[in-house]
Amino acid sequence: MPGITREEVAHLARLARLELKGEELDHFAGQLDDIIGAVARVSEVADQDVPPTSHPLPLTNVMRADEVRPSLTPAQALSGAPAQEQQRFKVPQILGED
């Protein structure tokens, strides 16, 4: 039985670093459950003879030659960084994870 519980939404929100209030969890859990239920109907239509697909195009082996192309300059690369130091992206303290 497809679907999603309020607890699962809370778990995913935490993994995605989204802070959701109690009523938001209720709200999104309901919405997401509807969406998952709607998508699940595809499985009812697609029988064993229809392979699962992860890509809309029937392509394989799209590759490029191992040739260097110009990169951004460090200034361009860092232009969107909220903070920088020593030509590097500066990020806040990383707690308890390493």
Binding site: H11, L12, L15, A16, R17, S54, H55, L57, L59, T60, N61, V62, M63, R64, A65, D66, E67, V68, R69, S71, L72, T73, P74, A77, L78, G80, E85, Q86, Q87, R88, F89, K90, V91, P92, Q93, I94, G96, E97, D98
Partner: protein, 501 residues
Amino acid sequence: MTSELLSYEDALASYDPVMGLEVHVELGTRTKMFCGCSTELGAEPNSQTCPTCLGLPGSLPVVNAIGVESAVKIGLALNCEIAEWCRFARKNYFYPDMPKNFQTSQYDEPIAFNGYLDVQLEDGEIFRVEIERAHMEEDTGKSTHVGGATGRIHGASHSLLDYNRAGIPLIEIVTKPIEGAGERAPEVAKAYVAELREVIKALNVSEARMDKGQMRCDVNLSLRPHGVEKFGTRSETKNVNSLRSVERAARFEIQRHAAVLSSGGTIVQETRHFHEDDGSTTSGRIKDNAEDYRYFPEPDLVPVAPARAWVEELRSGLPEMPRVRRNRLREEWGVSEHDMQSMLNAGAVDPIVATIEAGADAAGARKWWMGELARNANEQGVALDELPVTPAQVARVVALVSEGSLNDKLARQVIEGVLAGEGDPDAVVEKRGLKVVSDEGALGSAVDEAIASNAAIADKIRGGKVAAVGALVGAVMKTTRGQADAARVKELILERLGVEG
């Protein structure tokens, strides 16, 4: 915090170790796995990034053909099956080393799977390590932690990220559980990583320099009481980055696990950090449900489907495997397993082969690479093949010695000169005036002088103590600054003193 350890012997008496080794190899491609940014080492921070490897909106990855080819070659060399069709997957996690918030990897469809690598232990025994899978992924950026002690993440106030490395192709090679190695488990672990490194180098897909982070190993280890089938809880020691450390980490974890288990405790499944200084490991993070990577097929990349004909073409182009090659060379050179192992450990096998190809005899080539040059490399803390001397130059030194123009002492000086950048061996000989003096005229006066100033010794020799001639030869070598042909000097002295040699 130091861990309680049980003695290694006691640990093995009660428990059977099971290991899993995960090795990451950074490929030597010119560009990253999914974009055309250069992979050249030593570039300025953040000078090799683009919208794709920075994960900017609207950018699209495209797979590096050489990355896939290298992965297939590695898979074939490890006797794996090659997937007929496989996909990339997103491994989702929030950590600043990946600007995309996911690492592009492979999940349940690795490009290579179900193989093995036979490794030879020091005593010649062959141990088969089964390979679970080898899959393609990308490296992360480099973090510098600021504000804490000695650059550690703990206590750091903030961190700085350089994304030049983010996106460099990695192949992760995972073994099946390694069982049955018993007390030799640490040795098997080391031999496996060493052999894998040789295979990678032979395939020419990476330099696989562990000291440069091009090859990194995670050691997973658990113990189970003898006779018990079920595996114990494992610890995962991350980033063990030298062959010696792989062995030490496995050994330490065996002793630590045994101490915990034998005192009635339980092992916590956790990441552990290895410390080079004392060979210990300490607790990192405990694996909890935060590690929920929510893998899903990468929608921006199409599947990789290596054509069978292409796979067979790559298979037929594989080089001779290192273990086979080593055994062949060992027989050709007529050396022992132990000597061969020493040459392998010193990184001397390839330089010796190249020197022989440049015309030297095997014994001469071995002698200089394993002697003077190995010592020099060791002193400078560089690999043998990084010394500023070519196999052709070493071959020339060997030739000069065998034709009698140089003795070993002079040859060492020639090598020293070559390493100091004074030019080719012949140029060094010329500049430093290093030629064996063997003509009668020049030697004669030195011999006469030595006899005259060591009359007592000369008398002893005349009286039959031929062994004393060494002292006179030494005197001549001293006055000629080591350039005399010692054998000829001995003959001349004995001749002058009227003694049979």
